[in-house]
Symmetry: C2
Subunit: 226 residues, 2 copies
DNA sequence: TTATAAATGATAGTATTACTATTATACTTC
DNA sequence: GAAGTATAATAGTAATACTATCATTTATAA
């Protein structure tokens, strides 16, 4: 279940590779945790530095600014999720079963895990739900895109889209459907938690309905022979 | 086509009603335009004040902070859109035709219109696409929600959801589907423009495919008898 | 082992942001 | 013409988003 690999992140996202030092890893882990706690707008490098017992200037040696750190963390999760999906569907031949597995993976909320040093999947999942779209909703989206900062998301989307095409090669909107399901998997969870009347899931504890919704949406859309 | 009514905005959103003075209307109109130009993060009341030839302090007499102004503008659009949809579907009895009309309205990009003093639909549409989710993706979402700042969005969603139920009373996720289509109508447009590989629309000039995608997604989901 | 470089800490500084406060002036309306 | 309201002008403050400098500690290579 736990894939044994190192997630590679676009080198333009950092000034100094945070994975390569104790302090860098603290910046990632505590940075993620502080963003979750304070919200991205209220989060600052100064607060983070205080939190991990270093100085603002030091944090700035790793990341140009807080948006780059956010993008790094989001990229980490997108890449992680792609591996997770590929790993868990690798031996499934039936396209339907495969897609169902993907929906399951997108719908389930990761369990707590505290392998101390590493970024936790659960926190990264939360981050994507709470702040994910802020990674691309900026006026520098084009420049970020040229730097390939969205490649992990595009790759993930492309994988999903391929599976859709495998299931029904004639479906005309596989990419849009993939990005829709990906986006919705997070935003419907957000709505469920904070604006439940925008959903049909109430404030339920389980994600069963959330999953049923996505699964139904997906399979109705790509249904064959109509 | 042009509905003749005044859009009422939640009074807690402002300190002084901006609709009631020349200056207030300038704050709205130029504020919207500046946010589009600079992006919400780079937008400040100081820049806005300079732009309309007043002082920062004066702008603060109308709005507590820039997020309230954003929420005001987004609320204005949600309310506008609700009226637009209700107005344009009022005399349609067939539920299918009605839903198709809604999709059409959600997919079409408003034309330029410069009735000088008033907020322009086109700009507000852009705002929703570029900054819309920042209205609710904050750590004060619960408090904002208690203040009913999201009521217009919920109302819009509820209307749409009712039409879905009218078409197929047995469909189990009308609210989620409504919010999904609403969200996607904007985010797929954003992707189309800035991250086209997340869609199947390329960098096309027309919104025809965008519309087909939404329509197909909607009607396949709520199809009867399966 | 020492020299050398690289990473971090300590400290300071700057322009801008996100406000609040005060006083003066102009504009309205009663 | 007085009284009130809206705006302008100005000032000030704490925090943000950085950049710069220099000293010190730590790792690495000769």
């Amino acid at each position: 279940m736990e894939p044994a690999f190192k997630i590679k992140i676009n080198r333009k996202l950092y000034l100094k590779d945070p994975e390569l030092s104790e302090l860098g890893r603290k910046i990632l882990k505590q940075g993620l945790s502080l963003i979750l706690q304070l919200g991205f707008e209220q989060f600052t490098f100064k607060k983070l530095a205080a939190d991990i017992g270093t100085t603002e200037a030091t944090v700035y040696r790793y990341f140009e600014n807080k948006h780059r750190l956010l993008t790094y963390l989001i990229n980490w999760y997108w890449t992680f999720l792609e591996y997770k999906i590929l790993f868990n569907t690798k031996n499934i031949n039936n396209p339907e079963t495969k897609l169902k597995k993907v929906i399951e993976l997108l719908s389930e909320e990761p369990k707590m895990q505290n392998k101390s040093d590493e970024l936790s999947e659960k926190s990264a999942y939360e981050l994507l739900m709470l702040e994910g779209s802020k990674a691309y909703l900026t006026r520098h989206v084009n420049s970020d895109n040229k730097h390939k900062f969205f490649k992990p998301y595009k790759d993930l989307c492309a994988d999903f889209s391929s599976m859709i095409k495998e299931y029904n090669p004639k479906y005309p909107f596989p990419q849009s459907l993939a990005s829709t399901i990906l986006e919705m998997s997070h935003s419907q969870k957000y709505f469920m938690k904070y604006l439940p009347s925008l959903t049909d899931f109430g404030k339920e504890k389980t994600n069963a309905k959330h999953r049923q919704f996505l699964e139904h949406l997906l399979f109705q859309a790509i249904k064959k022979n109509n």
